[in-house]
Symmetry: C3
Subunit: 175 residues, 3 copies
């Protein structure tokens, strides 16, 4: 592609994206990245069969089979991994920005230089669960209804309903 043609398309793409950015800013008072300029969050969620009222930013990575209930908010940069058979997330959850929820991991595969297989286990998140930004939920974990997971936590064990847990690894604490 000639330099001139690259310049022409770049000028066009920039003008187009600025027009879309102006629209988003007027409509939602927010600045979003290119993927969210070209998609709508409710449609992203609906395309995966997630429940009514659930929204999902465009740069969410979804692997395998993931079921999400209604009115759940899925922030930018999240990973919802159903590659390990099954990931279920309930209603009214906050899956804050940067949260990663897994049904597999590659610890043994990496340290064995590929001789050991990837491991898998299903993961369940109840209704009304708040998961703070950048937290990571390991494969095989169940988080009960109405639980609160603090920001930047690593959850590698089950969390009972209504509990508040945080830390790396996350431990239950008084509210």
């Amino acid at each position: 592609m000639s330099d001139d043609r690259v310049d022409q398309w770049l000028a066009f793409a920039r003008e187009f994206l600025r027009a879309l950015a102006d629209r988003k800013r007027k409509q939602f008072d927010r600045r979003v990245s290119i993927g969210d300029l070209l998609t709508e969050r409710d449609e992203n969620a609906a395309a995966y069969g997630f429940g009514e009222g659930t929204t999902m930013y465009d740069n969410v990575l979804v692997l395998g089979t993931v079921k999400v209930g209604r009115n759940t908010w899925i922030g930018p940069g999240c990973i919802l991994d159903g590659s390990g058979g099954d990931l279920q997330i309930g209603d009214w959850c906050s899956i804050s920005a940067g949260v990663q929820i897994y049904t597999h991991h590659t610890v043994k595969r990496s340290i064995s230089l590929g001789r050991e297989p990837i491991e898998y286990a299903p993961t369940r998140i109840g209704d009304g669960v708040y998961i703070g930004p950048n937290s990571v939920i390991q494969m095989g974990v169940t988080i009960g209804n109405h639980a609160i997971i603090g920001s930047n936590s690593f959850v590698n064990g089950d969390i009972p309903p209504g509990a508040k847990a945080f830390g790396c690894p996350a431990r239950c604490r008084a509210k």
Copy 2:
């Protein structure tokens, strides 16, 4: 859209993006993602009225009213949330990659299944503040000038000027 037409546009888009990637690599010795191939970091910051010398990667989510001073670096994947009325960030800050600074949260809204409202409070970051990668600043926090926040921290209380704090929740420590 026919498969052939998709193939043609995909081939074109890939050639265009490779040309842009070659330019960025020659100019800045770096690989950036599609949003940053199509925008410039200083222009992204200027479009939001941020101060001279401040730069912002394209995939930064900006909500509501956010004021940023001069010569501040805003990395990729950050969230600057001014939806809670007011987020102010000073001069010469490092808002490292993956940092999320909030003026709202949805803890009570989630665990009440939507019966409780979203909560809001203004947040202030002083001048010369370093916030390490992936750290999260809760709504309502004030971080004083020249403070250092370690990587992967969760800041849920005020940090005095010149302090060094880290952890989840972040606590002040000897330098």
Copy 3:
């Protein structure tokens, strides 16, 4: 650009991206963001001279000189910073999503309001190293072969071969 023209291009872009998304879903059973609809992970890695079998998502930021071995998995949202002279990563590593590996930092530059320079030091990651999601590796660190770094860790010192370390800052623990 007229509103009509923006609408037309938006409709086209959305149709094109949906067609690409359908392809990725059928081929890989996954939902990826726009950058990964337009690129292939093995080609992204090969374009940087990384070893055979290594893959890299599109929204990885690569700065300066970075060498990566074979069969290493580099997840979405990572930062591989070779701006400080040299970043080396071995074979069969898991560089999980959101991991940031640095050879520079701006702590003193920020708190001095730009009077102090950026600092640099080379960083090395051995073979068969697992680095959990969202972990941050500070400049100057060496992580030995077959080490395991837990999720959401901040590594600011060397980690010996075969060790398991986690926390902020990361400390070695019994396996």
